[in-house]
Every structure is written in structure tokens, then in C-alpha cells.
């Protein structure tokens, strides 16, 4: 699908800036069998994410839950919480944004990757105005019922280096680079 097709949905600068093409950098994506588990050093993502009220509102609306605590700053200010509440699953947007395309963790962009489930620990809710960066490292790689699972520990921190959320980001991936190339050609790149 062409980026132009998505443009009618864009409402923030980040939407306009982010590449919707998951194919163009695919040769640089990390591959299941090539992940170096001898190097468990934590690395930072390519980008940081400064959260705006529009980001929070758009995510709530896109997930079809427009509670005024998430979409109406006036309403939220009058509540005991006193500010917009950011949907907990918004961490997905932050991770895709922060990982980027060139460095570690870019395997989350693999065309054809499947999501088996996720888990996370929230230390503090995200807030409008915070600038979030991520730190990540390989956590696990396993085979289950013929499927190849890769898991990274991806943690979200704010501008003061306060740990906000810990995640165990997991996907089912093609085993090797040829699997990715098959997907790029529009062929099935998974074995199961």
C-alpha cells in the first residue's frame, strides 16, 4: 500500500514524518538466526518521542475508545487525575517510533511477522509532554511448535531517565534472511 493512501488519516507531524514502507530497509532488519546473544549490551533506540495531546487522542480514537479522560483535556483536568490519561497500549506507538529502521530491534518491522502476545510492567503512566527514549537488549529466542520466536526486553524511560514501562516485546519471525526476502517478493516466508 502506498504512503499516499494513508495520508487521509494523518493528523500529527509524526504521522507525516514516519515511513509507512516496511519493505525499503528490510535488508537491514535483524534476522532471528543472526541475533547475537553473546552481546547482551543494552542499546538505545534511534529516536525519541515527545508525547502530545494529539498523539494520545488519535491513539484512543484509532483503538475505538474515545473516553473523555483520553481525548478531552478540559474534562481530564477536572478529574482527580488532573490530566489526560494515555492509553496503556500507546507504548506500541512509542516503541515503533523509537526503534527506527537501521539499528537493533528493527526486526519488529519485519513484513509478515506475527504477534503471539506481549507482556509489560508499568511503573508510571506516560504523560503528555514527556520525551520518551527506549533501551533494549535481546532477552530470549526460542522455537515452539515449529515457529521461531524472538523476544527483546524494551524499556521506556522519560527525559529524566525515570523508568516508565518495561516490556517483553515478542514476535514470530522468519528463521533466516531468505524468509524475509520471500515476504518481500510476496511469497510465504514462514515454515509453519
Amino acid at each position: 500500500m502506498d504512503q499516499k493512501e494513508f495520508e487521509k488519516y494523518f493528523c500529527t507531524d509524526k504521522h507525516r514524518e514516519f515511513s509507512t514502507d516496511f519493505f525499503s530497509d528490510a535488508e537491514a532488519y535483524e534476522v532471528w538466526e543472526e541475533i547475537d546473544f553473546s552481546n547482551l549490551a543494552e542499546v538505545e533506540g534511534e529516536n525519541t518521542f515527545t508525547i502530545t495531546a494529539d498523539d494520545a487522542r488519535f491513539f484512543a480514537e484509532a483503538s475505538l475508545f474515545s473516553h473523555p479522560m483520553m481525548t478531552d483535556e478540559g474534562y481530564a483536568r477536572q478529574s482527580d487525575y488532573g490530566r489526560l490519561f494515555i492509553h496503556p497500549i500507546f507504548i506500541t506507538s512509542i516503541i515503533f517510533w523509537c526503534v527506527g529502521t537501521k539499528g537493533r530491534g528493527n526486526w519488529i518491522r519485519t513484513p509478515g511477522a506475527r504477534n503471539p502476545g506481549q507482556s509489560c510492567i508499568f511503573h508510571e503512566y506516560l504523560q503528555v509532554g514527556e520525551t520518551i527514549h527506549i533501551k533494549m537488549k535481546p532477552h530470549d529466542r526460542f522455537i515452539k511448535r515449529g515457529k521461531y520466536y524472538l523476544q527483546y526486553k524494551v524499556d521506556l524511560y522519560n527525559q529524566d531517565n525515570v523508568l516508565k514501562v518495561e516490556t517483553f516485546t515478542t514476535l514470530i519471525l522468519p528463521r533466516d534472511r531468505e524468509g524475509i526476502r520471500k515476504f518481500l517478493r510476496g511469497e510465504r516466508g514462514l515454515d509453519d
Binding site: 500500500m1 493512501e5 494513508f6 488519516y9 494523518f10 509524526k14 504521522h15 514516519f18 509507512t20 514502507d21 516496511f22 519493505f23 488519535f58 491513539f59 480514537e61 484509532a62 483503538s63 475505538l64 475508545f65 473516553h67 473523555p68 479522560m69 478529574s79 482527580d80 487525575y81 490519561f85 492509553h87 496503556p88 497500549i89 506500541t92 506507538s93 515503533f96 517510533w97 518491522r109 519485519t110 513484513p111 509478515g112 511477522a113 506475527r114 504477534n115 503471539p116 502476545g117 506481549q118 507482556s119 509489560c120 510492567i121 508499568f122 503512566y125 520471500k182 515476504f183 510476496g186 511469497e187 510465504r188 516466508g189 514462514l190
Partner: protein
């Protein structure tokens, strides 16, 4: 709206049901919101041959289903903002365009520890219009009281 307190909650309490009907527009908009443009969600032509799920149709993002299940928790607690400490979600079948997903749950456990440390465990599942399970999840939610 009445403020949600630890005393007002009992193990076995049902949570609000959330019903969402989705289509390709839903997937495209969620792709924009989440920055997850995997073609399995967005590109019907590509999916017909690439078939990551062996299906020949696009499917919704797993995190869209996760959002629906989380919305059960949010609909239960908001405008009271309790602290979701942990969330764990599993996707048991991909959601296809045109499906209606119902998410529902219960207060599975009430942990009575001490003021400021009390929490509940919520179990939430998502099913399609035929009752087929598409997602399972568990949330730990802490109370200030």
C-alpha cells in the same frame, strides 16, 4: 460517576463488555496510530500470496485486540485512574475485516495486603461474533486505598 474503591470491588465481579466491529479502515487507522505498517494488516494484495497467517485476507493488529481488551479495564475504572501494574496478553486467532469482537472479563482475584498495596487481578478475553476466542489477557491493578 461513583469513585471506584478497593472496598467496592469483589472477586467475581463482572467487568463492562466492549463490542467493536472492525474493517480495513480500522486496521489502516490503527497502523497510523501505532506506526505498525506491517503489510499483513494493511495490504490486501500482498497478503493474498504472502499469507503470513496462512489466510488470504489482512488481519487486525494484535495490539488492536490488546487495546480492546485493555478498554474493558479502562471502561471499568475511568474516570478513576487506578494503576495498572502488569499486563499480559495472548492472541489466539487473528481478527479479520468485518468481524465483531466482544471483550469481557471479571475480577479474578482480590489481593488484600495493606492500604496502598492492595490490588486485583482481572481476566479479560476477546471473542468474535461466533464465540471463537481471539485473545486472552490478565491485568494487575493496584488501588491507593
Amino acid at each position: 460517576m461513583e469513585k471506584l474503591t478497593f472496598d467496592s470491588v469483589s472477586a467475581g465481579d463482572p467487568l463492562p463488555e466492549i463490542v467493536r466491529t472492525v474493517d480495513q479502515e480500522t486496521f489502516w487507522k490503527f497502523a497510523v496510530a501505532s506506526f505498525d505498517y506491517n503489510p499483513v494488516h494493511c495490504d490486501q494484495k500482498w497478503v493474498e500470496t504472502a499469507r503470513p497467517f496462512t489466510l488470504t485476507t489482512t488481519v487486525g493488529h494484535g495490539m488492536m485486540t490488546a487495546s480492546f481488551m485493555t478498554d474493558v479495564v479502562l471502561a471499568w475504572m475511568l474516570p478513576t485512574v487506578l494503576t495498572i501494574r502488569k499486563a499480559s496478553v495472548k492472541f489466539t486467532f487473528p481478527v479479520m475485516p468485518g468481524w465483531t469482537v466482544t471483550s469481557r472479563g471479571t475480577v479474578a482475584e482480590k489481593h488484600v495486603i495493606a492500604k496502598g498495596k492492595n490490588f486485583v487481578v482481572l481476566h479479560v478475553e476477546a471473542v468474535n461474533q461466533d464465540g471463537m476466542k481471539v485473545g486472552l489477557s490478565e491485568f494487575s491493578v493496584a488501588f491507593p486505598d
